[in-house]
Structures are given as structure tokens and as C-alpha cells.
Symmetry: C2
Subunit: 208 residues, 2 copies
Amino acid sequence: MRIAIMIFEALTALDAIGPYEVLSRLPGSEVTFVGPQAGPIRTDNGALGLNVDVTIDDFPDPDVFLIPGGEGNRPLLTDERVLEWIRTAHETSQWTTSVCTGSLVLGAAGVLQGKRATSHWAYRELLSNFGATPTAQRVVEDGKVISAAGVAAGIDMALTLAERLAGSEVAKTIQLGIEYDPDPPFDTGSPEKAGPELVARVRADESG
Amino acid sequence: MRIAIMIFEALTALDAIGPYEVLSRLPGSEVTFVGPQAGPIRTDNGALGLNVDVTIDDFPDPDVFLIPGGEGNRPLLTDERVLEWIRTAHETSQWTTSVCTGSLVLGAAGVLQGKRATSHWAYRELLSNFGATPTAQRVVEDGKVISAAGVAAGIDMALTLAERLAGSEVAKTIQLGIEYDPDPPFDTGSPEKAGPELVARVRADESG
């Protein structure tokens, strides 16, 4: 099982690293961090350096690929080389996946036409620009495309994907191994639970 | 607020990146990835390259510091340079924190003497070797030391810490921003919930 996670300048790290921590524990899987250019990149806030090990051109046919989000994926929306890579990879992939605004890049590549999909709540409606049906669920599976909501939702998506790839016993073992027994001190992880004031704050941060 | 996250060869990435994604969103915070040696490192499974930006010697006095886990922290348990850095940093820190087996390194440095602390469930009892009281909670706060259980628990810990540092409104806004509204497809994130068979499997993987 050859899994490609695309990373790029100014990505949101947890979008990629949450799923990586799950998928790299699948028996027989090999996770490779690919990107438009090989070499070091920095995350959206600049605080963390990651490495792109393989350029996308050198890995055209992953079994599974994942596109994360972050402000750094805006240039990808019009990067024909990246979009063409996605279209080609999608032709032969078993699963095509995204976290957060990564689904907008899948959309720009044309692979969400007529599909249900999700994204970070603040950007979800933009999916309709790409012929997709924005769907307010944490993980949305439509055919072989699985999209996750914002940032932390990638962990839930990856466990769902782990089950599809290797069965529920393996996925449950991974959940126990990473002690994913979530217990946040607050219950404000979705706009509905957080209420309008916090939603307005996040929207202001996102646009700033 | 100067926050140092220690990373090192063969760490478990999510231990560090979960908290980073929360803490880097604190207004006025600056997260720096420090380590025994500056430069590129690889994670425990080798699939991901991260960069240590600053050596610990060049950052002796963080306001907050965090030690993650992973098989790569075993050598740190007897690395006097790292342990001395922890002792010195702890003298002036506002908060001293760990995720997963990072607490064992704090213990080896001597800063958990007489304190309650936690770790990944499979290693928690080892804390008693360092004069600490192993405590089966997801996040344990004792004085200015906050320890988290395994891997994914670092996100819950970081939200708790964000509240201590900046108040609950800020912490709640961060939770909404990263859409941390967890909904795993299974409920096997703790040994109690997973049952003895899955526990045995994870123990076999960990020892292998």
C-alpha cells in the first residue's frame, strides 16, 4: 500500500501529520511525503520545517493520496502541474483523500464533480464552485473519494480509511496505539457547538 | 510567550505536532522547535523529515517547554546534556510539559519527584521509577507540570495549557479553528475501552 501525502509551502501541519500518524501504522503501508518541489518547506505560521522527500512527478501512481489544507494550498488551485498530477493519480488510486481545504484542490482538479464532499467549515460552501455538494459531516465518503472537515478531522478520516484498507480490528488497534480517546476540555469544535461569537472570531482570524 | 518543543531523531510526530497546532495559534506566542542537534531528523518510522531549528544550548530559558515521546527518546533518558537542559529550563519555566513517553524524560531529569504524572498507557507505570505517581488521566496537572497520555492526548493537553496561558475564550476559539470536534469511528482509544485482546496486540507491537 503506497500512500502519498502531499505537502507544500505554508500548509497546516496537523492536516497532514494527523493522518500520517494513523496511516503509517498500517501493516504493509509505506507513507511518502510528496510535493511540487522536493526539499525543505515551512508551515503556515513558519514555525515548523518539514521535508518534501519526493516530487510529485516521481510518484505518479500512489494507491492512496491525501491533499491537506492551509493557506499554502491557494496557489495550488491554479497550478496546472499539481492539478494534472491529481487527475492522473486519481485515475488509478484506490482512495483519493483530503483534509480541510485540501478538498478545494481536489475540486479544482475536477475530481469532485457530482460528488458530496466536505472541508473546513469556514470554506465548505466553496466546494459548490467545483460541482461538488458541500456536506456538513466530519468525514464524507463518496465512491473512492474521502474528504475530512477542518484540520483535526483528518485523524477521524484516517481511521475510517484504515478500516477500509485493513479492516476494523487493525484500525481499532491503531486507535489504541495512539491513545486517541479524545477528551477536549471544551466542546467548541464545530460552529454549531461554539456559537456565533466564536465563529465570528475564527472567521476574522482566517480572513486576516 | 516563548514556547520550545523538543524534537529529536525517531520521535513520534503527532506527540509534537498536535500541541504545536494548538499552541502556535496563541496570540503573542512563538513556537520554536529545539533539539539536541540542529538540522534534519526523521520520525520513528522514518517516513517524515522534520527540522530542528535551534539547539537546546541556544534556548535555555523557554517560558513553556514540551517533551514528546517515541522510541527516539529512550537515549535521552541517559543523555546528561538533555537532562541538565530540562533541569535548568524547568527552574524558570512557567509550564513544563510532556506528551506520551516524554514524561519519562522529565522523570529522568528529576523534575517529577513527588508529582502526579501520566504517559502512554503502556509505559505509565514506569513513572514510579522516577519518584512520580503514575496517574491514569488523559491530562495531569501538578503544579507547573502538565503531562499528557499517549500521542493524540497532546491535543487535549495543549488546549488545557492554552486556557491556562490565555483564558478559555482563546482556547475555545483555537478548538473551533482547528475543528477539533472529535468523532472517531470506533471507541477503542483507551485500554479500558479497547479490551484485553487489542491491548495485547499493541503491547506486542510496542515491544517489537
